[in-house]
């Protein structure tokens, strides 16, 4: 489903973010990318979203080279990938409902579908009563749950969660991980980047460990080993 083929990323100042990285992700998998800050986890995620281009190598999504896609098709690719960020990245002037509806509107979904799906997905993340709240009226955990709701509302093939628990306390971290597991159980592929040992060890899923831009371990039922 996703294939990183000998991907390297070298910036203009010759700093190496990724070096000859290759791995694939199968449909329905839950993989965790772990490593210290600067290991290259986020760069890998950005490449999948066509936010960054590799210096050498290719990234394939459903057999299509992401970086050879015409610009007009990149929106379509991004609608197939739900994204969750460490800093939530909600639209500050939109309510929880509107933030989620935005993702559906952007993919051209009809109003009727939006009206039925958004409350449903908000219920899924246990925020049914906060749909009219603005992001600044929500706690960090609640904001992250809205972000997850936004990521899953279009029923994407993959959810990319880049350090989704980085700004959360242990209770909220646990809840977010449980939600991601539930989504994975329903068949959605999950790519999680984190350096939270507790999260990785509790998941008992595939773990790709990175260090200084290289993949140093790829364990089927891995633990956080660094």
């Amino acid at each position: 489903m996703i294939y990183y083929d000998r991907v390297s990323k070298i910036y203009a100042d010759n700093s190496v973010a990724l070096e000859d990285v290759s791995f694939s992700v199968e449909p329905g998998e839950f993989i965790s990318l772990v490593g210290h800050s600067g290991a290259g986890k986020t760069t890998l995620v950005k490449m999948l979203l066509a936010e960054e281009k590799p210096t050498t190598g290719s990234v394939f999504f459903e057999s299509i080279n992401v970086h050879e896609m015409p610009t007009s098709k990149i929106n379509t690719l991004r609608r197939k990938i739900g994204t969750v960020f460490q800093d939530f990245r909600l639209l500050p002037n939109k309510t929880a409902y509107e933030n989620i509806a935005f993702a559906m509107e952007a993919s051209g979904k009809p109003e009727a579908e939006i009206h039925s799906d958004v409350p449903h997905v908000l219920e899924l993340v246990d925020l049914g009563d906060k749909m009219n709240n603005f992001p600044h009226e929500l706690s960090g955990g609640e904001q992250q749950r809205v972000a997850i709701a936004r990521a899953i509302v279009n029923q994407p093939d993959v959810i990319v969660a880049d350090e989704p628990t980085g700004n959360l306390d242990p209770v909220n971290t646990f809840e977010i991980v449980q939600i991601l597991k539930k989504i994975n159980d329903l068949g959605t592929t999950i790519i999680l980047t984190t350096h939270n040992k507790g999260v990785i060890d509790s998941l008992k899923k595939r773990v790709i460990t990175m260090d200084r831009g290289k993949v140093i371990r790829d364990d089927k039922e891995g633990k956080y080993i660094l």
Binding site: L49, E51, S72, N75, T76, L77, R78, R79, T83, R89, L90, L91, P92, N93, K94, E98, F102, A103, E105, A106, S107, G108, P110, E111, R150, N154
Partner: protein, 309 residues
């Protein structure tokens, strides 16, 4: 589908406009200053044009005829002058009218009037007062008159053409220089002023959108197309322009009313209030149009920069 997209973009733009109250107010205020400047330049242009026209109207060329010149010959010349494309108007002053005018002008000068009474006959000839459409055309008219004089030779009825008076000619040339310079200077000042205020407005909108750059990135990452991201910002920009335009038009109503009297008295009879009322629809179009185009264009360009993701 396009209608749904249009409705969503419009709704998002209106919502962002109302929810970003502080940014909206700041943008509207700056844009109001811009549109006010645009409006003021319209009025300044009208006042300047009218003042210059009044100055130009003061310029003329007088053709003085001999006392023996028959009236039909003078009227014939008047007709041929009127046929010239350069001539705006020709006024005929008969000998009697010229005398009456002279008496009126010297009514406090008894000595001159007594001297005039001593004369057996009216010493003044008839006069044709010629006004050209443009100051630069007086030379052509004067040449035409001189040709007439040369053709007629000894039988010429023209006594004098005051264009050839050194003083009169110098005054005309000076007037032409002043009016032309004032016009050019006025255009430059107006142009520079409008450019500066447009740049300020443009940058304010860019700053307003700069504060939303992270949002634009998020929109792109959740799969929103360029048009869907850009649309609401353009709607916001148009709304800034519309509101600022309406405020500017509202400010101009009492302002021109207040300035109407003084401008009418000082600048060649143009009452800016009357001008504002009688030209309201064209001024409305210019002010609102400038606001809307400026708002939309500035937003379009400002968003463009953050769409490259």
């Amino acid at each position: 589908m396009k209608w749904v997209l249009f409705k969503r973009v419009l709704r998002a733009g209106v919502l962002d406009f109302s929810r970003n109250a502080f940014v909206s107010i700041a943008s509207i205020l700056v844009m109001t200053v811009t549109l006010f400047t645009v409006g003021m330049t319209i009025f300044a242009g009208v006042i300047l044009g009218s003042a210059l026209q009044e100055l130009r109207d003061k310029a003329d060329v007088n053709v003085y005829f001999t006392t023996q010149a028959p009236e039909d010959r003078i009227l014939e010349m008047k007709a041929s002058l009127e046929a010239l494309p350069e001539v705006a108007s020709v006024q005929y002053l008969s000998r009697d009218e010229a005398l009456a005018q002279f008496r009126d002008r010297h009514k406090n000068d008894q000595l001159t009037l007594q001297a005039l009474d001593e004369l057996p006959d009216n010493p003044l000839g008839a006069v044709l007062n010629v006004k050209a459409k443009d100051i630069s055309q007086y030379e052509t008219i004067a040449t035409f008159l001189q040709d007439q004089q040369t053709q007629d030779g000894a039988s010429s009825v023209i006594d004098k053409i005051n264009f050839y008076d050194e003083q009169h000619r110098a005054a005309l040339e000076r007037l032409q220089y002043i009016t032309n310079s004032a016009q050019v200077l006025g255009r430059w000042i107006v142009g520079i002023l409008i450019l500066i205020t447009l740049a300020i407005s443009f940058n304010t909108l860019r700053l307003a959108i700069y504060t939303s750059r992270d949002e634009i990135q998020v929109m792109r990452l959740v799969g929103a197309g360029a048009l869907y991201v850009r649309g609401p910002f353009i709607v916001e920009g148009i709304l800034y322009g519309l509101v600022a335009g309406v405020i500017t038009l509202l400010i101009f109503y009492p302002l021109t009313w207040w300035l109407g009297g003084p401008t009418g008295n000082f600048f060649g009879g143009v009452n800016v209030f009357s001008y504002y009322v009688s030209h309201f629809f064209s001024i409305f179009g210019i002010i609102i149009g400038t606001g809307v185009v400026l708002g939309a264009a500035a937003s379009w360009l400002a968003v463009q920069r953050y769409l490259k993701i």
